[in-house]
Amino acid sequence: MFAAIEQHFRHLAPAVDFCSMRVVRAHHEALTVRRDVVQPVRRSEDLGAMVTVHDGGGLGYAATPDLSSAGLRRAVDQARDWARATAGHALVQLDYLDREPRLGEYRRPVRQPWSSVSLEDKLDLLRRECARLSIDQAIVEWQAGLWHSEIETLYLTTEGGRVSQHFESLLPVLSATAHRQGETQTRSFGRGAHFRQGGLEILTATGFYEAAPTIARQVLELLAAPNCPTGTLDLLLAPDQMILQIHESIGHPLELDRILGDERNFAGTSFVTPAMFGTYRYGSDLLTITFDPGRSEQIASYGFDDEGRPATREYLIKEGILLRPIGGSVSEARSGLPGVANARACNWNRPPIDRMANLNLEPGASSFAALVKAVERGVYMETNCSWSIDDSRNKFQFGCEWARLIEDGELTTVVKNPNYRGISAEFWRGLTGVGDAQTFQVLGVANCGKGEPNQVIRVGHATPPCLFRDVAVFGGE
């Protein structure tokens, strides 16, 4: 099908300064067993294209699901009309953008394809795992699910550029909610964090088959647990909370379009300014953050971004010093700062903007036991359940599903409603322990929202557990 669409595009050859087309085809299937009842199987088939035109100093796009020759012609005309209408009013100087035609393909091998297991067997698996969550009458809501996606993209330019990419991914879900006497607690399988590229082999790699009994036991523990204490304490964060900490207080502030002001009306701005790159101490010496599109199992690995730029691994923060923002070719040209290949769109109906892709905190030297042992009085928290941060990504407050006190170097009492708050610009300087490669987990966020018009996109974060000193920690009412 893409061959015919490509031929239509090549024949269009509009008389404009630059024209590109991005075709996206997506197939999704969601299977869920909730309270031991198989929910309706949901599939989706999506196909459409976005045409982008630069002409006479203006820019325009048009998105359409009509991929016939006539449909694409209409889209080109609409994009060109917008380019003409915005000429003289465009924020971006288009003549200095890199239009070098890129050629390439990206496809990650899948070891156990989704189609290699029958629907009945997949539903049987979910029934089994769902039933293992319901171990007590206090558990009032429980579910197991799998969300599989297969996405193909083709990016073409009038200069001869051609990039085709294929992505297959799986999100396993488990959760249990317990309720007793006015108290409700929920525990989950990373709350959607085990989102990876690949096939059914992900279930083994993420520990899906072993997770249900622990989730069920822990949610019941929470019902009987005391509230998390209030105070300034040491805080050890598990990887499935670290991903939110990295995402909200490093990833978003480093987005170059935020720094340039594009998001000020919606997602917000950033406390980071262009002058900080190269000198600003973002965190302690233990903090090293990479933009890493090359870890193939991670959810946002790719060969090229949605403007055809080849993706390479780059240090954003090294040993605590801020080095590089996350901005695609357009933001790079606007700011004069070196960026990364991160111009990404959530689908064919939205234009690319600066997004996180895989943003990873590199492992350190401490075992998990050593991190715990280093704490005299603190809290260990797992799995994000609440997130809030100011529009410049500084003052944050996060909550977790489950926590344990750390007393004299030992994990002790389970506590409920664990929360903590801080300020990004100070928090990372209190990083005093980073887990080693054995503790490093490859995780992701399925629903990062940003952009006008709005876009939700997949973002990867890989991280070990990390220890922070003197954090404001508190519990529920």
């Binding site: 309706p40 199987v41 999506d46 009509d66 465009a90 407050q397 006008e452 939700v456």
Partner: protein
């Protein structure tokens, strides 16, 4: 698009076998999006999309799929045939669904609102003219939105609206800005100029040295836009039957312990006065109003057809998420001219941002102030305030510490566009609240 959707429905009817039934929900739009930054155009373009959600049913077994339509029947007909065959085959592998429920009483409807909008390029030109010399940032979205429903029993529902939604901010410097919105169904350049002038006037008030407040309790006035943030969070599992029955409702203590909010507070899902369709994706119609909170007491909840089947109660036309689409908070007695004098000394909060639960059982929420927030003394704006985090419970904010609701309300049309343009709206008053807890 309506004719095309009816053709699709007829095509689907012809593909049925035996006792098969289908339901088919449609959503489509033709939208011009213009994104601004620093008063210039960052991105501009047109998005046309149309999608169906087909549920193919035989007895108590069914399977469903979303399909993007090209709009060309020669292309879409074979896709529909493949889709129906796939769903039929898939259905043989799934068990009966005990909670399947779809409309069997035929209740067709049609609402086609005329297009009174100028071209998208013309409206965009008026925006950049109005923003001349200003640091304007935001989004203008305009065009047609279509929602439809059809089933093989013969029910047909349709809604077409042509609307615009300009959601923008004017910036003074760093994070000192005024947020404004101009949305509706008839464009008026003079009205835009008026709102731009009002925002500019407020911007001047931000050009004073900002004050940083210490954590503590402050009296607060929340504008309708700030109240909308609270109501949107409350709508996330606050009012749905399923959330109520599984104990995850943020209003759990109202439901289980009869805790009450302030008696001045009445909250309604007011479909009759909103802009969302009055039918949902399984073909059920929504009542004109569902009273959710009445004089401070929990009353009814939103019930989707699946929840209705599971918990054996009547549905009221809610979508699967059981969140309000047309929320209405009843007005109070606080006149617009008395807001600052009633606040006396405290915070005038233009907008809130990034709300979330810090203890859902206790309905305790946290969030940030954003945009135009001012310190007020003796009823006069004194200084802009640097952003502050609050953390407090709804039972206090909307209960014992609620001092008043404004007599005037604003109809806020949601500028959201995740996947497609939102049809959520809210009609809200401002709120005066005592001793709100600020923490950081």
């Amino acid at each position: 698009m309506q004719d095309y959707f009816h053709t699709i429905a007829t095509t689907l009817t012809g593909l049925l076998r035996g006792k098969e039934v289908f339901t088919c929900a449609f959503s489509g739009e033709e939208t011009d999006f213009v994104r601004f930054n620093h008063g210039q155009v960052r991105q501009a373009g047109h998005v046309m999309q149309r999608c169906i959600t087909l549920d193919l049913i035989d007895g108590c077994r069914h399977t469903s799929a979303e399909l993007t339509l090209s709009g060309d029947l020669e292309v879409d007909r074979p896709r529909l045939l493949t889709l129906v065959e796939d769903l039929r085959e898939l259905r043989t592998h799934v068990p009966e669904d005990p909670y399947l429920r779809y409309a069997t009483e035929i209740r067709s409807s049609e609402r086609l609102f005329p297009n009174r909008l100028p071209a998208g390029t013309e409206m965009a030109a008026r925006v950049w003219e109005a923003g001349q010399g200003k640091d304007l940032v935001g989004i203008h979205a305009s065009g047609a939105m279509h929602v439809g429903f059809a089933n093989s029993l013969g029910q047909r529902n349709w809604l077409t609206r042509h609307s615009f939604n300009l959601d923008w901010s004017l910036y003074l410097r760093t994070d000192k800005a005024v947020k404004a919105r101009y949305a509706g169904f008839e464009w008026d350049t003079a009205a835009l100029a008026g709102r731009m002038a009002a925002a500019s006037e407020q911007l001047e008030a931000l050009d004073r040295p900002a004050r940083t407040l210490r954590p503590g309790r402050y009296r607060v006035y929340l504008t309708p836009m700030a109240v909308d943030e609270i109501m949107e969070l409350l709508g996330w599992n606050g009012f749905g039957l399923r959330a109520q029955r599984t104990g995850v409702s943020s209003l759990l203590r109202m439901i289980e312990d009869d805790v009450r909010l302030h008696p001045a507070l009445t909250i309604t899902e007011n479909t009759a006065d909103g802009v969302a369709p009055d039918f949902q994706e399984a073909g059920f119609l929504r009542p004109a109003q569902v009273t959710l909170i009445e004089n401070g007491s929990y009353r009814d909840c939103l019930v989707a057809p699946r929840s209705a089947a599971e918990y054996e109660v009547p549905d009221n036309g809610a979508e699967e998420g059981e969140a309000p689409l047309s929320l209405d908070v009843a007005p109070g007695n606080l006149a617009a001219g008395q807001i600052l004098s009633s606040l006396d000394t405290g915070l005038y909060v233009g907008n809130l941002w990034y709300l979330n639960w810090s203890d859902r059982n206790a309905a305790r929420l946290t969030g940030m102030t954003r945009f135009a927030t001012f310190w007020v003394e003796n009823g006069c704006l004194r200084a802009p305030v640097n952003v502050m985090r609050f953390d407090d419970t709804l039972y206090r904010l909307l209960g014992e510490r609620l001092l008043g609701l404004t007599t005037e309300r604003e109809l806020l049309l949601d500028p959201g566009s995740y996947g497609g343009r939102s049809s959520r709206s809210a009609r809200l008053p401002g709120m005066l609240v005592d001793e709100v807890n600020f923490t950081l």
